[in-house]
């Protein structure tokens, strides 16, 4: 009997979790993209690792 009143709560939790999943995948991960870009550029230009992190992964956007 008591369980019945829990259904709305559980439904709400489900929707929160589902929304979180969707949100996570929509935002562009700017910091990770910067790191990936640096990695590729260092390979293409054959740069030394020295000074690689000077401006490295600073991020102006929030990325969850």
């Amino acid at each position: 009997m008591k369980n019945v009143s829990l259904y709305p709560v559980i439904l709400a939790l489900f929707s929160i979790i589902l929304t979180a999943c969707v949100t996570i995948n929509i935002y562009f991960p700017a910091a990770a993209a910067e790191k990936a870009a640096d990695q590729i550029i260092e390979e293409v230009w054959q740069l030394d690792d020295a000074g690689k992190n000077e401006q490295g992964a600073e991020d102006t956007r929030s990325d969850n």
């Binding site: 559980i10 996570i24 935002y27 700017a30 990770a32 790191k35 640096d38 590729i40 550029i41 969850n64």
Partner: protein, 141 residues
């Protein structure tokens, strides 16, 4: 009570799936055969392009490409081949941005990836190389 317990278990499973998605979402996949191939092709071409970056004949554009910015810095006889190098490089760069977006199952990220790259190419460029500032003017690093 049993029902409630199974709901809780289900919630925990969903929560861990969410966390897994989160961990995946904060990484950018760049290890695919297509991306590796593009990297190699660009790396090989860089040896030929580097002297033109140094001389200022070729510069880094604000949209993550390269361009002939001072054709007079290249002897007439070489101009055709430098133009071809620039065109081939830009083709690879376009493909690279597209492939990274696709490898991460978000083709719509292409323009964000391009924007990120355009900043990082310029940040990592050697001093003396030319790049295009946000307002479009050419600047020597």
């Amino acid at each position: 009570m049993n029902k409630l317990f199974s709901y809780l278990v289900l919630l925990v499973i969903l929560l861990s799936l969410t966390l897994a998605a989160h961990a995946r979402g904060t990484n950018i996949e760049i290890n695919t055969p297509a991306i590796t191939k593009l990297k190699q092709s660009m790396q090989q071409r860089h040896g030929q392009l580097a002297p033109y970056y140094t001389s200022g004949a070729v510069g880094l554009t604000r949209d993550g490409m390269i361009a002939m910015r001072d054709a007079n810095a290249v002897p007439l006889a070489q101009r055709q081949s430098v133009n071809a190098l620039v065109a081939a490089e830009n083709q690879d760069r376009n493909a690279l941005y597209r492939e990274i977006a696709r490898a991460n199952s978000h083709p719509e990220w292409e323009k964000d990836i391009r924007a990120t790259f355009s900043q990082r190419w310029i940040s990592l460029a050697k001093s003396g190389w030319w790049y295009q500032a946000a307002n479009g003017s050419w600047t020597k690093k």
